[in-house]
Protein backbone atom coordinates (compact mmCIF):
# COMPACT_ATOMS: atom_id res chain seq x y z
CA UNK A 1 0.00 0.00 0.00
CA UNK A 2 2.76 2.41 1.00
CA UNK A 3 4.77 1.50 -2.07
CA UNK A 4 1.82 1.99 -4.40
CA UNK A 5 1.19 5.43 -2.90
CA UNK A 6 4.85 6.27 -3.34
CA UNK A 7 4.69 5.59 -7.08
CA UNK A 8 1.48 7.58 -7.38
CA UNK A 9 3.24 10.52 -5.76
CA UNK A 10 6.19 10.26 -8.11
CA UNK A 11 3.83 10.15 -11.08
CA UNK A 12 1.89 13.19 -9.89
CA UNK A 13 5.08 15.16 -9.34
CA UNK A 14 6.41 14.19 -12.78
CA UNK A 15 3.12 15.19 -14.35
CA UNK A 16 3.20 18.55 -12.58
CA UNK A 17 6.81 19.23 -13.55
CA UNK A 18 6.32 18.33 -17.22
CA UNK A 19 2.84 19.86 -17.59
CA UNK A 20 3.85 23.22 -19.15
CA UNK A 21 6.31 21.46 -21.47
CA UNK A 22 3.83 18.90 -22.78
CA UNK A 23 0.67 20.99 -22.85
CA UNK A 24 1.63 24.20 -24.57
CA UNK A 25 -1.32 26.23 -23.37
CA UNK A 26 -0.25 29.22 -21.35
CA UNK A 27 -3.71 29.72 -19.88
CA UNK A 28 -3.76 26.23 -18.41
CA UNK A 29 -0.33 26.72 -16.85
CA UNK A 30 -1.58 30.00 -15.41
CA UNK A 31 -4.60 28.18 -13.95
CA UNK A 32 -2.49 25.36 -12.60
CA UNK A 33 -0.34 27.89 -10.73
CA UNK A 34 -3.47 29.16 -9.03
CA UNK A 35 -4.51 25.59 -8.24
CA UNK A 36 -1.12 24.95 -6.59
CA UNK A 37 -1.31 28.10 -4.47
CA UNK A 38 -4.90 27.52 -3.40
CA UNK A 39 -4.12 23.88 -2.69
CA UNK A 40 -1.37 24.96 -0.31
CA UNK A 41 -3.79 27.32 1.41
CA UNK A 42 -6.46 24.61 1.66
CA UNK A 43 -3.95 22.07 3.00
CA UNK A 44 -2.83 24.50 5.68
CA UNK A 45 -6.51 24.94 6.57
CA UNK A 46 -6.99 21.18 6.67
CA UNK A 47 -4.09 20.69 9.09
CA UNK A 48 -6.38 22.42 11.58
CA UNK A 49 -9.77 21.15 10.43
CA UNK A 50 -9.03 17.58 9.40
CA UNK A 51 -6.11 16.71 11.65
CA UNK A 52 -6.66 18.81 14.76
CA UNK A 53 -10.43 19.20 14.67
CA UNK A 54 -10.35 23.00 14.81
CA UNK A 55 -12.47 25.03 12.39
CA UNK A 56 -10.36 28.13 11.86
CA UNK A 57 -12.88 30.55 10.37
CA UNK A 58 -10.43 33.44 10.30
CA UNK A 59 -7.76 31.55 8.43
CA UNK A 60 -7.79 33.99 5.51
CA UNK A 61 -6.42 36.57 7.95
CA UNK A 62 -3.03 34.90 7.69
CA UNK A 63 -3.35 34.54 3.92
CA UNK A 64 -3.98 38.28 3.82
CA UNK A 65 -1.13 39.03 6.24
CA UNK A 66 1.29 37.10 4.05
CA UNK A 67 0.08 38.81 0.90
CA UNK A 68 0.15 42.30 2.41
CA UNK A 69 3.50 41.88 4.16
CA UNK A 70 5.08 40.99 0.85
CA UNK A 71 3.23 43.69 -1.07
CA UNK A 72 4.04 46.43 1.44
CA UNK A 73 7.71 45.47 1.71
CA UNK A 74 8.10 45.43 -2.04
CA UNK A 75 6.13 48.55 -2.92
CA UNK A 76 6.71 50.78 0.14
CA UNK A 77 10.02 49.63 1.62
CA UNK A 78 11.53 49.00 -1.83
CA UNK A 79 12.92 45.69 -0.69
CA UNK A 80 13.59 43.17 -3.43
CA UNK A 81 11.14 40.32 -3.86
CA UNK A 82 12.99 37.34 -2.40
CA UNK A 83 13.86 38.80 1.03
CA UNK A 84 10.32 40.24 1.17
CA UNK A 85 8.98 36.79 0.47
CA UNK A 86 10.96 35.32 3.37
CA UNK A 87 9.83 38.11 5.68
CA UNK A 88 6.23 37.56 4.55
CA UNK A 89 6.52 34.02 5.90
CA UNK A 90 7.98 35.14 9.24
CA UNK A 91 6.17 38.37 10.10
CA UNK A 92 2.69 36.77 10.38
CA UNK A 93 4.04 34.24 12.91
CA UNK A 94 3.98 36.48 16.02
CA UNK A 95 0.42 37.50 15.06
CA UNK A 96 -0.49 33.84 14.75
CA UNK A 97 1.04 33.15 18.14
CA UNK A 98 -1.08 35.77 19.89
CA UNK A 99 -4.29 35.02 17.98
CA UNK A 100 -3.78 31.28 18.32
CA UNK A 101 -3.15 31.60 22.03
CA UNK A 102 -6.51 33.28 22.57
CA UNK A 103 -8.44 31.10 20.14
CA UNK A 104 -7.40 27.74 21.57
CA UNK A 105 -8.62 28.75 25.01
CA UNK A 106 -12.03 27.72 23.70
CA UNK A 107 -13.06 24.70 21.67
CA UNK A 108 -15.42 23.83 18.82
CA UNK A 109 -17.96 26.54 17.98
CA UNK A 110 -16.32 29.05 20.28
CA UNK A 111 -12.99 28.49 18.57
CA UNK A 112 -14.64 29.06 15.20
CA UNK A 113 -16.27 32.30 16.36
CA UNK A 114 -13.10 33.61 18.02
CA UNK A 115 -10.90 32.88 15.04
CA UNK A 116 -13.56 34.46 12.84
CA UNK A 117 -13.47 37.61 14.96
CA UNK A 118 -9.69 37.86 14.78
CA UNK A 119 -9.72 37.22 11.05
CA UNK A 120 -12.28 39.97 10.56
CA UNK A 121 -10.19 42.34 12.69
CA UNK A 122 -7.30 41.80 10.29
CA UNK A 123 -9.65 42.27 7.36
CA UNK A 124 -11.22 45.47 8.69
CA UNK A 125 -7.84 46.99 9.57
CA UNK A 126 -6.60 46.30 6.04
CA UNK A 127 -9.89 47.55 4.62
CA UNK A 128 -9.93 50.82 6.56
CA UNK A 129 -6.28 51.82 6.92
CA UNK A 130 -6.02 53.80 3.69
CA UNK A 131 -2.67 55.46 4.42
CA UNK A 132 -0.87 52.19 4.96
CA UNK A 133 -2.69 49.42 3.09
CA UNK A 134 -4.51 51.41 0.46
CA UNK A 135 -7.87 50.46 2.01
CA UNK A 136 -10.41 48.87 -0.30
CA UNK A 137 -8.40 49.91 -3.37
CA UNK A 138 -5.68 47.44 -2.48
CA UNK A 139 -2.09 47.81 -3.65
CA UNK A 140 -1.13 47.14 -7.24
CA UNK A 141 2.21 46.80 -8.98
CA UNK A 142 3.85 43.87 -7.23
CA UNK A 143 6.71 42.78 -9.49
CA UNK A 144 7.48 39.14 -10.16
CA UNK A 145 10.55 37.76 -8.39
CA UNK A 146 13.93 37.44 -10.07
CA UNK A 147 16.53 34.84 -9.26
CA UNK A 148 20.22 35.51 -10.06
CA UNK A 149 19.21 38.35 -12.28
CA UNK A 150 16.58 36.41 -14.27
CA UNK A 151 13.16 37.96 -13.89
CA UNK A 152 10.46 35.30 -13.57
CA UNK A 153 7.88 37.36 -15.39
CA UNK A 154 6.52 34.80 -17.80
CA UNK A 155 3.67 32.50 -16.80
CA UNK A 156 5.80 29.40 -17.16
CA UNK A 157 8.78 30.70 -15.19
CA UNK A 158 6.49 31.76 -12.34
CA UNK A 159 4.94 28.29 -12.45
CA UNK A 160 8.40 26.84 -11.92
CA UNK A 161 8.94 29.26 -9.04
CA UNK A 162 5.69 28.20 -7.37
CA UNK A 163 5.85 24.46 -8.00
CA UNK A 164 8.96 23.57 -5.93
CA UNK A 165 7.81 25.82 -3.08
CA UNK A 166 4.38 24.19 -2.99
CA UNK A 167 5.82 20.69 -3.32
CA UNK A 168 8.33 21.31 -0.52
CA UNK A 169 5.60 22.71 1.71
CA UNK A 170 3.36 19.78 0.88
CA UNK A 171 6.15 17.36 1.74
CA UNK A 172 6.72 19.18 5.01
CA UNK A 173 3.00 19.07 5.86
CA UNK A 174 2.96 15.36 4.98
CA UNK A 175 5.91 14.86 7.29
CA UNK A 176 4.13 16.77 10.07
CA UNK A 177 0.97 14.73 9.67
CA UNK A 178 2.87 11.41 9.80
CA UNK A 179 5.14 12.48 12.64
CA UNK A 180 4.41 11.87 16.35
CA UNK A 181 3.12 15.43 16.41
CA UNK A 182 0.53 14.52 13.76
CA UNK A 183 -0.50 11.45 15.77
CA UNK A 184 -0.94 13.61 18.86
CA UNK A 185 -3.06 16.06 16.89
CA UNK A 186 -5.32 13.28 15.68
CA UNK A 187 -5.61 11.90 19.19
CA UNK A 188 -6.65 15.36 20.34
CA UNK A 189 -9.16 15.64 17.51
CA UNK A 190 -10.78 12.34 18.44
CA UNK A 191 -11.03 13.06 22.14
CA UNK A 192 -9.38 16.08 23.77
CA UNK A 193 -10.31 14.97 27.28
CA UNK A 194 -8.77 11.55 26.90
CA UNK A 195 -5.66 13.08 25.35
CA UNK A 196 -5.39 15.36 28.35
CA UNK A 197 -5.66 12.34 30.69
CA UNK A 198 -2.78 10.74 28.82
CA UNK A 199 -0.69 13.71 29.92
CA UNK A 200 -0.65 15.23 26.45
CA UNK A 201 -0.37 18.99 26.72
CA UNK A 202 -3.38 19.55 24.45
CA UNK A 203 -3.16 23.32 24.15
CA UNK A 204 0.55 23.24 23.35
CA UNK A 205 -0.05 20.88 20.44
CA UNK A 206 -3.04 22.81 19.19
CA UNK A 207 -1.00 26.01 19.27
CA UNK A 208 1.81 24.29 17.36
CA UNK A 209 -0.66 23.16 14.71
CA UNK A 210 -2.13 26.67 14.57
CA UNK A 211 1.32 28.18 14.00
CA UNK A 212 2.32 25.71 11.28
CA UNK A 213 -1.00 26.21 9.59
CA UNK A 214 -0.71 30.01 9.74
CA UNK A 215 2.82 29.82 8.34
CA UNK A 216 1.69 27.97 5.22
CA UNK A 217 -1.40 30.14 4.84
CA UNK A 218 0.94 33.16 4.83
CA UNK A 219 3.16 31.45 2.26
CA UNK A 220 0.14 30.82 0.05
CA UNK A 221 -0.88 34.46 0.49
CA UNK A 222 2.56 35.75 -0.48
CA UNK A 223 2.64 33.47 -3.52
CA UNK A 224 -0.83 34.62 -4.49
CA UNK A 225 0.12 38.30 -4.24
CA UNK A 226 3.07 37.66 -6.57
CA UNK A 227 0.84 35.61 -8.87
CA UNK A 228 -1.82 38.30 -9.15
CA UNK A 229 0.55 41.25 -8.97
CA UNK A 230 -1.59 42.96 -6.34
CA UNK A 231 -3.13 42.61 -2.89
CA UNK A 232 -6.73 43.50 -2.07
CA UNK A 233 -8.55 43.30 1.30
CA UNK A 234 -10.63 40.42 -0.06
CA UNK A 235 -7.60 38.18 0.48
CA UNK A 236 -8.20 38.42 4.23
CA UNK A 237 -12.01 38.21 4.10
CA UNK A 238 -13.94 35.32 5.59
CA UNK A 239 -15.11 34.39 2.09
CA UNK A 240 -11.52 33.46 1.26
CA UNK A 241 -11.57 31.14 4.26
CA UNK A 242 -14.81 29.70 2.98
CA UNK A 243 -13.16 29.05 -0.38
CA UNK A 244 -10.48 27.02 1.40
CA UNK A 245 -13.18 25.30 3.43
CA UNK A 246 -15.14 24.31 0.33
CA UNK A 247 -11.97 23.04 -1.36
CA UNK A 248 -11.07 21.03 1.73
CA UNK A 249 -14.46 19.47 2.28
CA UNK A 250 -15.21 18.95 -1.41
CA UNK A 251 -11.87 17.18 -1.80
CA UNK A 252 -12.09 15.25 1.45
CA UNK A 253 -11.36 16.43 4.97
CA UNK A 254 -9.88 13.27 6.34
CA UNK A 255 -7.45 12.61 3.54
CA UNK A 256 -4.15 14.38 3.08
CA UNK A 257 -4.54 14.95 -0.63
CA UNK A 258 -8.22 15.91 -0.45
CA UNK A 259 -7.67 19.69 -0.34
CA UNK A 260 -5.45 19.42 -3.42
CA UNK A 261 -8.19 17.67 -5.37
CA UNK A 262 -10.74 20.16 -4.04
CA UNK A 263 -8.60 23.12 -5.06
CA UNK A 264 -8.33 21.78 -8.60
CA UNK A 265 -12.09 21.20 -8.88
CA UNK A 266 -13.11 24.54 -7.36
CA UNK A 267 -10.63 26.59 -9.40
CA UNK A 268 -11.68 24.90 -12.63
CA UNK A 269 -15.36 25.28 -11.73
CA UNK A 270 -14.81 28.94 -10.90
CA UNK A 271 -13.21 29.68 -14.24
CA UNK A 272 -15.79 27.76 -16.23
CA UNK A 273 -18.84 29.03 -14.37
CA UNK A 274 -17.87 32.69 -14.23
CA UNK A 275 -17.95 32.74 -18.01
CA UNK A 276 -21.60 31.63 -17.88
CA UNK A 277 -22.91 33.28 -14.76
CA UNK A 278 -21.98 36.06 -12.37
CA UNK A 279 -23.62 34.21 -9.49
CA UNK A 280 -20.60 32.18 -8.45
CA UNK A 281 -21.43 32.49 -4.74
CA UNK A 282 -24.84 30.96 -5.39
CA UNK A 283 -23.22 27.89 -6.93
CA UNK A 284 -20.77 27.70 -4.03
CA UNK A 285 -23.67 27.84 -1.58
CA UNK A 286 -25.49 25.00 -3.32
CA UNK A 287 -22.27 22.96 -3.34
CA UNK A 288 -21.84 23.56 0.39
CA UNK A 289 -25.40 22.41 1.14
CA UNK A 290 -24.95 19.35 -1.02
CA UNK A 291 -21.67 18.46 0.67
CA UNK A 292 -23.10 18.87 4.15
CA UNK A 293 -26.09 16.69 3.32
CA UNK A 294 -24.79 14.01 0.99
CA UNK A 295 -21.04 13.98 0.63
CA UNK A 296 -19.31 14.61 3.97
CA UNK A 297 -16.20 12.65 2.90
CA UNK A 298 -15.76 14.70 -0.27
CA UNK A 299 -14.56 13.37 -3.60
CA UNK A 300 -11.69 11.39 -2.09
CA UNK A 301 -14.08 9.83 0.44
CA UNK A 302 -16.42 8.92 -2.41
CA UNK A 303 -13.62 7.28 -4.40
CA UNK A 304 -12.57 5.28 -1.35
CA UNK A 305 -16.16 4.20 -0.76
CA UNK A 306 -16.54 3.10 -4.37
CA UNK A 307 -13.28 1.19 -4.17
CA UNK A 308 -14.53 -0.68 -1.11
CA UNK A 309 -17.81 -1.52 -2.87
CA UNK A 310 -15.98 -2.80 -5.96
CA UNK A 311 -13.63 -4.88 -3.83
CA UNK A 312 -16.45 -6.44 -1.85
CA UNK A 313 -18.22 -7.27 -5.14
CA UNK A 314 -15.04 -8.97 -6.35
CA UNK A 315 -14.87 -10.99 -3.14
CA UNK A 316 -18.49 -12.01 -3.59
CA UNK A 317 -17.96 -13.10 -7.19
CA UNK A 318 -15.03 -15.26 -6.03
CA UNK A 319 -17.36 -17.03 -3.64
Amino acid sequence: MVKKNFWVWILVILALVSFPLIIQAEFLTFLLTEVLIMALFAMSFNLLLGYTGLLSFGHAGFFGLGAYTLTLLVTKANLSVLPSFLLALLIPLPFALVIGYFCIQRLRVYFALLSLAFGQIIFSIIFKWYDFTGGDNGIYGVPRPSIFGFALNSTISYYYFTLPLVLLSTAFLYFVVRSPLGMMLRAIRENPDRAEFLAIHVKKYQLAAFLISAFFAAEAGALFALYQGYSVPGFAHVNKTVEAMVMTILGGTFSFIGPFVGAAIVTALDKVLTTYTQYWMFVLGVVLLFLALYLPGGVVGLVQKLRIIIQSKKVESLK
Partner: protein, 305 residues
Amino acid sequence: MNALLNCLMSPSCLAGQLITGLTYAIFLFLIASGLSIIFGVLNIVNFAHGSLYMLGAYFAYTFTTLFISPETYWLAFIIVPFGVAGFGAFMQHFFLRPISQRYPKLAERELFHILATYGFTLLLDDLVKMVWGARFFSATLPSSLAAKVFWMGKTFPIYYFFVLGIGVVSAMVLWFWLNRTNFGRVVRAAVSNTEIVASLGVNVSTLYTKVFALGAWLGGLGGVLALPIRSASPEMGGDILFESFIVVVVGGLGSIWGALISAVMIGILRSFGILAIPSLEMVFAFVLMAIVLILRPRGILGKIW
Protein backbone atom coordinates in the same frame (compact mmCIF):
# COMPACT_ATOMS: atom_id res chain seq x y z
CA MET B 1 -10.56 62.61 19.11
CA ASN B 2 -11.60 66.29 19.14
CA ALA B 3 -14.81 65.39 17.38
CA LEU B 4 -15.70 63.10 20.26
CA LEU B 5 -14.94 65.75 22.93
CA ASN B 6 -16.92 68.41 21.07
CA CYS B 7 -19.84 66.05 20.78
CA LEU B 8 -19.78 65.16 24.47
CA MET B 9 -20.03 68.89 25.24
CA SER B 10 -23.07 69.56 23.08
CA PRO B 11 -26.41 68.06 24.17
CA SER B 12 -27.88 67.95 20.68
CA CYS B 13 -24.95 66.00 19.28
CA LEU B 14 -24.95 63.76 22.33
CA ALA B 15 -28.64 63.02 21.87
CA GLY B 16 -28.16 62.38 18.18
CA GLN B 17 -25.34 59.88 18.66
CA LEU B 18 -27.19 58.26 21.54
CA ILE B 19 -30.35 57.67 19.51
CA THR B 20 -28.42 56.39 16.48
CA GLY B 21 -26.40 54.08 18.71
CA LEU B 22 -29.46 52.77 20.50
CA THR B 23 -31.49 52.08 17.36
CA TYR B 24 -28.54 50.21 15.92
CA ALA B 25 -28.38 48.31 19.22
CA ILE B 26 -31.99 47.25 18.72
CA PHE B 27 -31.25 45.76 15.29
CA LEU B 28 -28.26 44.00 16.79
CA PHE B 29 -30.38 42.75 19.66
CA LEU B 30 -33.14 41.39 17.43
CA ILE B 31 -30.63 39.40 15.39
CA ALA B 32 -28.46 38.38 18.33
CA SER B 33 -31.39 37.18 20.44
CA GLY B 34 -32.54 34.97 17.57
CA LEU B 35 -29.02 33.60 17.15
CA SER B 36 -28.77 33.10 20.87
CA ILE B 37 -32.04 31.18 21.20
CA ILE B 38 -31.22 28.97 18.24
CA PHE B 39 -27.76 28.28 19.62
CA GLY B 40 -29.04 27.72 23.16
CA VAL B 41 -31.70 25.20 22.14
CA LEU B 42 -30.50 23.58 18.91
CA ASN B 43 -26.76 24.03 19.38
CA ILE B 44 -26.56 25.48 15.88
CA VAL B 45 -24.55 28.59 15.07
CA ASN B 46 -26.78 29.99 12.38
CA PHE B 47 -24.50 31.75 9.92
CA ALA B 48 -27.53 32.45 7.75
CA HIS B 49 -29.11 34.69 10.36
CA GLY B 50 -27.83 37.86 8.75
CA SER B 51 -29.40 36.71 5.51
CA LEU B 52 -32.73 36.16 7.24
CA TYR B 53 -32.54 39.76 8.41
CA MET B 54 -31.80 40.76 4.83
CA LEU B 55 -34.76 38.73 3.56
CA GLY B 56 -36.97 40.58 6.04
CA ALA B 57 -35.87 43.91 4.60
CA TYR B 58 -36.37 42.83 0.96
CA PHE B 59 -39.75 41.24 1.62
CA ALA B 60 -40.82 44.44 3.36
CA TYR B 61 -39.61 46.49 0.40
CA THR B 62 -41.64 44.40 -2.03
CA PHE B 63 -44.65 44.70 0.24
CA THR B 64 -44.48 48.48 0.40
CA THR B 65 -44.16 48.78 -3.38
CA LEU B 66 -47.03 46.38 -4.13
CA PHE B 67 -49.53 49.03 -3.12
CA ILE B 68 -49.13 52.74 -3.67
CA SER B 69 -49.79 53.89 -0.14
CA PRO B 70 -46.88 53.96 2.34
CA GLU B 71 -49.39 52.81 4.97
CA THR B 72 -48.75 49.27 3.72
CA TYR B 73 -45.55 49.40 5.77
CA TRP B 74 -47.75 48.45 8.70
CA LEU B 75 -48.94 45.40 6.79
CA ALA B 76 -45.35 44.43 6.06
CA PHE B 77 -44.51 44.96 9.68
CA ILE B 78 -47.10 42.36 10.70
CA ILE B 79 -46.77 39.82 7.89
CA VAL B 80 -43.13 39.80 6.79
CA PRO B 81 -41.58 38.42 10.01
CA PHE B 82 -43.90 35.43 9.67
CA GLY B 83 -42.77 34.93 6.09
CA VAL B 84 -39.16 34.88 7.24
CA ALA B 85 -40.09 32.55 10.09
CA GLY B 86 -41.64 30.24 7.50
CA PHE B 87 -38.42 30.25 5.52
CA GLY B 88 -36.51 29.51 8.73
CA ALA B 89 -38.76 26.54 9.42
CA PHE B 90 -38.12 25.31 5.87
CA MET B 91 -34.35 25.57 6.40
CA GLN B 92 -34.49 23.72 9.67
CA HIS B 93 -36.87 21.02 8.52
CA PHE B 94 -35.31 20.13 5.17
CA PHE B 95 -31.64 20.90 5.70
CA LEU B 96 -30.49 21.29 9.28
CA ARG B 97 -32.55 18.52 10.83
CA PRO B 98 -31.34 15.83 8.39
CA ILE B 99 -27.79 16.91 9.25
CA SER B 100 -28.47 16.46 12.97
CA GLN B 101 -29.79 12.98 12.26
CA ARG B 102 -26.92 12.03 10.01
CA TYR B 103 -24.02 13.01 12.23
CA PRO B 104 -24.23 11.69 15.77
CA LYS B 105 -20.84 13.11 16.77
CA LEU B 106 -21.17 16.63 18.16
CA ALA B 107 -18.03 18.00 16.52
CA GLU B 108 -19.10 16.78 13.06
CA ARG B 109 -22.65 17.98 13.53
CA GLU B 110 -21.42 21.45 14.45
CA LEU B 111 -19.11 21.57 11.44
CA PHE B 112 -21.75 20.52 8.94
CA HIS B 113 -24.35 22.82 10.46
CA ILE B 114 -21.95 25.73 10.05
CA LEU B 115 -21.26 24.59 6.51
CA ALA B 116 -24.93 24.34 5.58
CA THR B 117 -25.94 27.64 7.15
CA TYR B 118 -23.01 29.39 5.51
CA GLY B 119 -24.11 27.79 2.26
CA PHE B 120 -27.51 29.41 2.77
CA THR B 121 -25.83 32.79 3.32
CA LEU B 122 -23.98 32.62 0.01
CA LEU B 123 -27.04 31.31 -1.77
CA LEU B 124 -29.46 33.90 -0.36
CA ASP B 125 -27.12 36.85 -0.91
CA ASP B 126 -26.85 35.98 -4.60
CA LEU B 127 -30.53 35.08 -4.86
CA VAL B 128 -31.43 38.55 -3.64
CA LYS B 129 -29.18 40.01 -6.32
CA MET B 130 -30.92 37.90 -8.96
CA VAL B 131 -34.43 38.84 -7.86
CA TRP B 132 -34.06 42.46 -6.79
CA GLY B 133 -30.77 43.47 -8.41
CA ALA B 134 -27.66 44.77 -6.67
CA ARG B 135 -29.17 48.14 -5.73
CA PHE B 136 -30.05 49.87 -2.52
CA PHE B 137 -33.70 50.00 -1.57
CA SER B 138 -35.52 52.02 1.01
CA ALA B 139 -39.12 52.47 2.07
CA THR B 140 -41.36 55.45 2.64
CA LEU B 141 -42.74 55.56 6.13
CA PRO B 142 -46.47 55.72 6.84
CA SER B 143 -47.54 59.21 7.92
CA SER B 144 -47.98 58.21 11.54
CA LEU B 145 -44.29 57.24 11.78
CA ALA B 146 -42.85 59.95 9.58
CA ALA B 147 -43.61 62.75 12.06
CA LYS B 148 -40.69 64.58 13.65
CA VAL B 149 -39.99 64.95 17.35
CA PHE B 150 -37.97 67.75 18.90
CA TRP B 151 -35.66 66.52 21.67
CA MET B 152 -32.52 68.01 23.24
CA GLY B 153 -32.25 70.69 20.57
CA LYS B 154 -32.46 68.25 17.66
CA THR B 155 -35.30 66.86 15.57
CA PHE B 156 -35.71 63.11 15.18
CA PRO B 157 -38.17 61.14 13.11
CA ILE B 158 -40.56 59.50 15.51
CA TYR B 159 -39.63 56.26 13.78
CA TYR B 160 -36.39 56.03 15.80
CA PHE B 161 -38.37 55.99 19.03
CA PHE B 162 -40.76 53.48 17.53
CA VAL B 163 -37.81 51.15 16.85
CA LEU B 164 -36.52 51.61 20.40
CA GLY B 165 -39.99 50.83 21.76
CA ILE B 166 -40.32 47.69 19.64
CA GLY B 167 -36.90 46.54 20.81
CA VAL B 168 -37.72 46.93 24.49
CA VAL B 169 -41.16 45.35 24.09
CA SER B 170 -39.78 42.38 22.16
CA ALA B 171 -37.13 41.81 24.83
CA MET B 172 -39.83 41.77 27.51
CA VAL B 173 -42.20 39.56 25.52
CA LEU B 174 -39.37 37.16 24.78
CA TRP B 175 -38.42 37.00 28.43
CA PHE B 176 -42.04 36.48 29.47
CA TRP B 177 -42.52 33.82 26.84
CA LEU B 178 -39.46 31.87 27.83
CA ASN B 179 -39.94 32.17 31.59
CA ARG B 180 -43.66 32.29 32.24
CA THR B 181 -45.36 30.19 29.57
CA ASN B 182 -45.58 26.50 29.03
CA PHE B 183 -43.78 26.69 25.69
CA GLY B 184 -40.93 28.55 27.35
CA ARG B 185 -40.67 25.96 30.11
CA VAL B 186 -40.42 23.15 27.58
CA VAL B 187 -37.80 25.11 25.63
CA ARG B 188 -35.72 25.70 28.74
CA ALA B 189 -36.04 22.07 29.72
CA ALA B 190 -34.84 21.09 26.24
CA VAL B 191 -31.80 23.29 26.75
CA SER B 192 -30.75 21.43 29.87
CA ASN B 193 -31.62 17.91 28.75
CA THR B 194 -33.15 17.08 25.40
CA GLU B 195 -33.39 13.33 25.96
CA ILE B 196 -35.50 13.59 29.11
CA VAL B 197 -37.78 16.13 27.48
CA ALA B 198 -38.24 13.76 24.55
CA SER B 199 -38.95 10.82 26.84
CA LEU B 200 -41.62 12.89 28.60
CA GLY B 201 -43.55 12.94 25.35
CA VAL B 202 -42.47 16.24 23.81
CA ASN B 203 -41.92 16.10 20.07
CA VAL B 204 -38.43 17.52 20.07
CA SER B 205 -38.03 17.86 16.32
CA THR B 206 -41.17 20.03 15.98
CA LEU B 207 -40.01 21.98 19.02
CA TYR B 208 -36.68 22.60 17.27
CA THR B 209 -38.42 23.77 14.12
CA LYS B 210 -40.59 26.13 16.18
CA VAL B 211 -37.58 27.55 18.00
CA PHE B 212 -35.71 28.03 14.74
CA ALA B 213 -38.75 29.75 13.27
CA LEU B 214 -38.93 32.02 16.32
CA GLY B 215 -35.29 32.99 15.85
CA ALA B 216 -35.91 33.64 12.16
CA TRP B 217 -39.00 35.70 13.06
CA LEU B 218 -36.86 37.96 15.23
CA GLY B 219 -34.30 38.35 12.44
CA GLY B 220 -37.08 39.14 9.96
CA LEU B 221 -38.55 41.74 12.33
CA GLY B 222 -35.10 43.34 12.52
CA GLY B 223 -34.98 43.47 8.74
CA VAL B 224 -38.41 45.10 8.41
CA LEU B 225 -37.49 47.70 11.02
CA ALA B 226 -34.11 48.39 9.42
CA LEU B 227 -35.46 48.99 5.89
CA PRO B 228 -36.50 52.67 6.32
CA ILE B 229 -33.33 53.65 8.22
CA ARG B 230 -30.52 51.50 6.90
CA SER B 231 -31.96 50.54 3.49
CA ALA B 232 -31.75 47.08 1.94
CA SER B 233 -28.67 45.82 0.09
CA PRO B 234 -27.22 42.37 -0.60
CA GLU B 235 -24.34 43.06 1.81
CA MET B 236 -26.50 44.06 4.76
CA GLY B 237 -26.71 40.56 6.18
CA GLY B 238 -23.00 39.80 6.28
CA ASP B 239 -22.16 43.17 7.77
CA ILE B 240 -24.47 42.84 10.72
CA LEU B 241 -23.92 39.10 11.23
CA PHE B 242 -20.36 39.46 12.50
CA GLU B 243 -21.34 42.17 14.92
CA SER B 244 -24.26 40.07 16.13
CA PHE B 245 -21.86 37.23 16.80
CA ILE B 246 -19.86 39.61 18.94
CA VAL B 247 -23.03 40.66 20.75
CA VAL B 248 -23.89 37.03 21.43
CA VAL B 249 -20.39 36.13 22.59
CA VAL B 250 -20.07 39.23 24.78
CA GLY B 251 -23.54 38.82 26.26
CA GLY B 252 -23.15 35.10 26.84
CA LEU B 253 -24.43 32.44 24.44
CA GLY B 254 -28.04 31.65 25.24
CA SER B 255 -28.80 34.71 27.35
CA ILE B 256 -31.53 37.19 26.30
CA TRP B 257 -30.66 39.94 28.76
CA GLY B 258 -26.98 39.48 28.10
CA ALA B 259 -27.71 39.99 24.40
CA LEU B 260 -29.65 43.19 25.16
CA ILE B 261 -26.94 44.62 27.43
CA SER B 262 -24.10 43.85 25.06
CA ALA B 263 -26.09 45.06 22.03
CA VAL B 264 -26.56 48.42 23.77
CA MET B 265 -22.87 48.51 24.74
CA ILE B 266 -21.75 47.83 21.20
CA GLY B 267 -24.29 50.19 19.64
CA ILE B 268 -23.15 53.06 21.88
CA LEU B 269 -19.48 52.18 21.54
CA ARG B 270 -19.89 52.23 17.79
CA SER B 271 -21.75 55.52 17.50
CA PHE B 272 -19.30 57.36 19.76
CA GLY B 273 -16.22 55.44 18.69
CA ILE B 274 -16.79 56.50 15.09
CA LEU B 275 -16.31 60.10 16.25
CA ALA B 276 -13.04 59.29 18.01
CA ILE B 277 -11.34 57.20 15.31
CA PRO B 278 -13.60 57.14 12.25
CA SER B 279 -11.70 54.49 10.35
CA LEU B 280 -11.84 51.85 13.05
CA GLU B 281 -15.56 51.63 13.87
CA MET B 282 -15.60 47.83 13.57
CA VAL B 283 -12.48 47.31 15.63
CA PHE B 284 -14.03 48.70 18.84
CA ALA B 285 -16.54 45.89 18.99
CA PHE B 286 -13.84 43.28 18.41
CA VAL B 287 -11.65 44.77 21.12
CA LEU B 288 -14.59 44.73 23.54
CA MET B 289 -15.12 41.09 22.70
CA ALA B 290 -11.47 40.21 23.25
CA ILE B 291 -11.51 41.94 26.67
CA VAL B 292 -14.74 40.25 27.76
CA LEU B 293 -13.50 36.85 26.65
CA ILE B 294 -10.30 37.24 28.60
CA LEU B 295 -12.00 38.43 31.77
CA ARG B 296 -15.27 36.47 31.55
CA PRO B 297 -14.99 33.64 29.02
CA ARG B 298 -18.71 32.83 29.30
CA GLY B 299 -19.75 36.37 28.49
CA ILE B 300 -21.34 38.98 30.72
CA LEU B 301 -24.37 36.84 31.55
CA GLY B 302 -23.55 33.34 30.37
CA LYS B 303 -26.44 30.82 30.52
CA ILE B 304 -29.00 32.40 32.82
CA TRP B 305 -32.02 30.60 31.50
